[in-house]
């Protein structure tokens, strides 16, 4: 009998600190599998955000740098410009990337910075206990939108891939989900493509992964996947928004 599925090498043998059923864990694994398959662990440097995944520097086996909230793309830029032959990725939540880090994200894309961004959109600030994120859905109840997000007051959720697709420096902007086996496999492909584009020096690549936050959504793990399907995917359509190497949605 052969092992057909096991923990990737690029994940250290350290248990995740995420809540039960939180899909951050799946996404971590996909990144690690990609690193394994591309054989790049030794020259990969990851950048951890501020958010629930802040301590992913304890999980990934490659070298890691923890960045200030929202500034991961700038830190990654420093790392990449310093040693261009390294593979540099950031792993960021929606608060980190799409709120406080908006300028850093947009300008990494503007510069066509040759880095890979794994963007985990769970429509909420997970780590701080469930406040509205710029990606929180219309009418979504959060700690800071106790009566539901009122779009006429707090605005409509931001669609990051669509926005970044307008920039020339963006090589890949794709949105995926991890709500079922097939989508997880697609997500993996997208992440791998993003890393490959970096190896090929094509510029800035971002994969937006729709993810769950059972704890702050107040749902169990399975219900959370359903909520993601029912609410997030309609607002955030999956697909390729920009791909310098292929077809774009």
């Amino acid at each position: 009998m052969a092992v057909v599925f096991q923990k990737p090498q690029a994940l250290l043998d350290v248990p995740f600190t995420y809540c039960p059923g939180c899909t951050h864990g799946i996404i971590h694994r996909l990144v690690a599998e990609t690193i394994d398959e591309l054989g790049i662990e030794g020259h990969t440097v990851g950048v951890a955000p501020v958010g629930c995944s802040v301590m992913n520097y304890n999980f990934f086996a490659c070298d890691m740098v923890q960045a200030p909230h929202g500034r991961a793309p700038a830190v990654a830029t420093g790392l990449k410009r310093a040693i261009p032959e390294n593979i540099v990725f950031t792993y960021q939540g929606d608060g980190d990337l799409a709120a406080i880090g908006t300028a850093e994200t947009v300008h990494a894309a503007v510069r066509g910075e040759n880095i890979t961004v794994v963007f985990v959109n769970n429509a909420i600030y997970g780590m701080t206990g469930g406040q509205m994120a710029p990606t929180s859905l219309p009418n979504q109840v959060t700690q800071t939108t106790p009566y539901g997000r009122d779009t006429s007051y707090s605005g409509h959720p931001i669609r990051v891939c669509e926005m970044l697709a307008t920039l020339e420096g963006t090589a890949l902007a794709q949105r995926v989900s991890v709500d079922n086996v097939k989508n997880v496999q697609n997500a993996k492909k997208a992440i791998k493509k993003a890393f490959t584009y970096q190896i090929e020096k094509r510029g800035f690549s971002i994969v937006e992964v729709l993810s769950t936050c059972p704890t702050n959504w107040g749902l169990d793990a399975q219900e959370s996947l359903q909520w993601l399907r029912d609410n997030m995917i309609p607002y955030y359509p999956l697909g390729v928004y920009k791909d310098v190497g292929g077809t774009t949605k």
Partner: protein
Amino acid sequence: MAKVLMKGNEALAEAAIMAGCRHFFGYPITPQTELAAYMAKKMPKIGGVYLQAESEIAAINMVLGASAAGKRAMTSSSSPGISLKSEGISYIAGSDLPAVIVNVQRGGPGLGGIQPSQADYWQATRATGHGDFHLMVYAPSTVQEMTDLVALAFDNADKYRMPVMILSDGMLGQMMEPVELKTANATDCPIEKPWAACGHRNSRPHNVINSLYLTPQALEELVKKRYEKYEVIKKEEQMADEYLTDDADIILVAYGASSRICRTAVNTARKEGIKAGLIRPITLWPYPAKYIEKHIAHAKAFLCVEMSMGQMVDDVRLCVNGRKPVAFYGRTGGIIPAPDEVLNEIRKLTGGVK
């Protein structure tokens, strides 16, 4: 090497390059623009990185990244830009990363003005961001020192693994003086950095650059270790220049631009028969307390002169600790005091006669 005339900003840039700096990340702001422009011109020619960031915040975080990768990295700005960098600087300190940050000070608060100032002393020496930490802070007073101190800054940043600030001002940045550029460092990474996040190349455990410690005990331990290092620095790294202090009755204390004015005032005072002297701190943190201590016994009074409403004077008072009177004279808003104004203060303190 023969002396050449260079602007302070440009001389500093050239010296940084000679010190092995190949990674500069900036954002335009007066009166430091020439520094970035110089880097923009030179770096591409020597295979270095000049990158104009989208903001000061991005720039300091690019420095964090490049430094994490093991490179000598630098950024420069002026007062409002330094405020924006303060979170990042606190992270750099908390991650034990070397870095050199230049503040070519201008008048504040707010948008303020663009003329020279020394009103960011407290920010530089006590609170360039949140939490318990320090930067080393060097205060050049000539264009020559703009170059000499930047080399020292890089060396000590690496040696102590901490951010170092060059606290300059618009006058020093904009003026030209003859300068002799010292010999260059061969490499942009002169010392081994086994801690760097440069890719483990499958030959060592992964390195992590981080400032998060959720267990207070772990955080305290780390901070305390850092403060032990600070104690070493306080012992080893104090620098100051003394001028006619040996027999001085009244000792001026001033750094950077204002120290130059004080020197002139001291000379004039001496001509009037007043025994004035000058201590010019070169390190602002660690504060050169031992230089002041030496003279407390014989000095009758200290006069601290700053281009601010009075900031370094706190440190002078903390050193003197009530043993002698400490007076203050300051101009703010971008005004460089005239030697005569300082002379007047000296006269006041000495009752007008020797």
